[in-house]
């Protein structure tokens, strides 16, 4: 009887294959769950010690063993926001040029070149940012801004401070370069979904290319552009090596965008291997947990938005 049951068990090729496939797919949920659990357990000593204060305190002091996430969180959010604000107009411009304005034979190679920007590793952006871009930026824009913008009311304080090259604004700019390709390709894709009839109809009544694009095409893809923006924001939030090079690595929160700061990922990258004591390690993992939650929410939102528009 037992032997019969064994034979009846569906261990034929089809079933084996299906099960292997299912197990592999299931591994993804296991991994995601394990990552969350390991971050929570790793961060536990810090959460136990500081409670919710961990998320709002701006103290980060290995000597007194006081740790709070606020500085790193601030740097992460501000540099990513700068990146998104700078990359959006450029990304829209590139996407429009590639899909609407430039000749077909040129569009393909140029698109590939722009996409190659995304393939350049983060650490290369970091080196280039620190050794090439930052000095140039300090001598150019920062010096000029210090003389001309720093005294303006309200926004002046954003541009005060010594022209050091590294800092929040530099990080934002480097991040903007890094997220440009993803923005461009998503917006290009959205543009390609707009039916040609719309273009032809608007050209037919004598509109210029500018009018067609600004008044018909762009409003038609508002939703996908917003989704792309959030997705790019998610990318920027988690970026590590580039930021570690150019943000300056200072645990502080200043109004000026020229001042060195830090981000969650940069703090972890810089301090993890030199961390002294359990509480320090736990606090760094706690920062990781914060980053995980932010990116999860941001990316989840982006995916929902992009999917809804796609349907």
């Amino acid at each position: 009887m037992k032997a019969l049951m064994l034979r009846a068990l569906p261990w034929d090729g089809d079933n084996l294959f299906r099960r292997a496939c299912l197990a592999s797919a299931g591994l993804i949920s296991v991994l995601m769950f394990a990552i969350l659990v390991s971050l929570v357990t790793g961060a536990w000593p810090a959460l136990e010690q500081f409670g919710l204060g961990f998320f709002v305190s701006d103290e980060w002091n290995p000597i007194t063993e006081q740790y709070g996430a606020a500085n790193a969180l601030y740097g992460t959010l501000v540099s990513s926001l700068i990146a998104v604000l700078l990359a959006l107009p450029v990304g829209v411009g590139v996407a429009i040029f590639l899909s609407e304005l430039c000749p077909k034979w040129l569009s393909k190679p140029l698109s590939i070149a722009i996409e190659l920007l995304a393939a350049v590793p983060s650490i290369i952006y970091g080196m280039w940012g620190l050794f090439v871009f930052a000095p140039w930026f300090a001598d150019g824009f920062q010096l000029w801004a210090g003389e001309n913008l720093a005294d303006l009311p309200v926004i002046g304080s954003l541009f005060s401070g010594p022209p050091m090259g590294v800092g929040l604004l530099t990080s934002g700019i480097i991040l903007a370069f890094m997220i440009l390709p993803i923005l461009t390709s998503l917006i290009k894709e959205a543009l390609s979904t707009v039916p040609n009839v719309l273009r032809e109809a608007t050209y037919g009544i004598g509109a210029t290319q500018f009018e067609v694009i600004a008044k018909v095409l762009l409003p038609a893809i508002k939703g996908p552009i917003f989704g792309a923006l959030i997705l790019a924001l998610g990318r920027a939030l988690g970026e590590t090596m580039a930021i570690t090079f150019v943000i300056g690595g200072a645990q502080s929160m200043e109004m000026s965008l020229f001042m060195p700061a830090t981000s969650i990922s940069a703090t972890i990258a810089e301090q993890f291997n030199e961390a002294t004591g359990e509480l320090h390690v736990a606090s760094l993992i706690g920062l990781g947990l914060v980053l995980f939650m932010i990116t999860f929410v941001v990316m989840g939102t982006a995916r929902v938005l992009l999917r809804r528009k796609a349907q």
Binding site: L39, F97, L117, I124, M127, A214, G238, F245, F292
Partner: protein, 278 residues
């Protein structure tokens, strides 16, 4: 009136062209910097000698070997699992709720910051084994490559024409054989392309290696030890005041970027070559 409209149109086109030139300019500038600073250190010794002490003479041989090994091991772990998982999504899961949530989680894993993967593997492997190791580095890289392989495999399998499967099934071929012998064969290049892209993606990853493989100044092919690798070496050498280390960092950066760009271009050319041949 017509004049202002024309002017607006021209200005707008100019701005779009400007944005494109800016994007291309950045790529060109980065490549130019890499060539300018990296070429000077491109000697044979780069491939034959190990990393030196500060201000010493040496190469990147141990880092290159370590990177190749960990990337290779990572892909060997990720590719079979990724292809099978992608197959499940495309062939069995399809539009089911389970498949949808796995797709969602896969997307999330794809966009999870790579430094978090490093923290995860650190806690899973480095803490329990008691030391940094090449295996831990390879696992971290595998986790980063996995979601890319899964989604490209799924996308590719969806392209297999329905009648090809039906023809196979009509001959009485079991379903798994249809998948392996017909579908994989039909879209194999696409799947390989996805794997190539994930090789390109993980070979430049630095953050997850910082706390898993760490680095090593010795030549080792034993993945049980901390392992030298290009990205972390570049990071450490670029940040140091030693000039010979800086030079090695730039040369390493040139090597790795060229390799990655080559893989990317190859992954685009490959499907077209195949198309032309058939």
């Amino acid at each position: 009136m017509i004049a202002t409209r024309k002017v607006k149109n021209l200005v707008f086109k100019g701005l779009c062209l400007g944005a494109t030139l800016l994007g291309l300019g950045i790529l060109v500038l980065i490549l130019f910097t890499l060539l300018q600073k990296g070429l000077a250190g491109l000697h044979w010794s780069l491939f034959t000698e190990s990393t030196p002490g500060p201000d010493g003479e040496g190469g990147l041989a141990n880092a290159i070997v370590g990177s190749l090994m960990m990337t290779g091991l990572g892909i060997l772990m990720a590719a079979p699992v990724g292809v099978l998982a992608g197959t499940w999504l495309a062939e069995y899961g399809q539009d089911s709720k389970t498949a949808d949530s796995i797709r969602f989680l896969n997307g999330m894993l794809m966009s999870a910051p790579s430094i978090l993967i490093g923290l995860f593997v650190y806690q899973m492997m480095v803490v329990s084994m008691g030391h940094f190791s090449g295996w831990a580095g390879a696992v971290a890289l595998a986790i980063i490559a996995l979601p890319v392989i899964i989604s490209t495999t799924e996308e590719m399998l969806k392209l297999v024409p329905r009648n090809l499967r039906e023809a196979g099934a009509g001959l009485g071929t079991p379903r798994w054989k249809v998948t392996v012998k017909l579908s994989y064969k039909a879209v194999g290049t696409g799947i390989i392309t996805g794997i190539l892209l994930s090789v390109a993606r993980i070979s430049g990853e630095t953050a997850p290696l910082l706390f898993t493989a760490l680095n090593s100044s010795f030549m080792t092919t034993n993945p049980n030890e901390p392992m030298a690798n290009l990205p972390v070496t570049i990071y450490q050498f670029a940040m140091s005041p030693s000039e010979s280390w800086n030079q090695l960092a730039w040369s390493g950066a040139l090597l790795i970027t060229m390799a990655i760009l080559f893989l990317n271009v190859l992954s685009r050319v490959l499907p077209q070559l195949k198309k032309r041949r058939s």
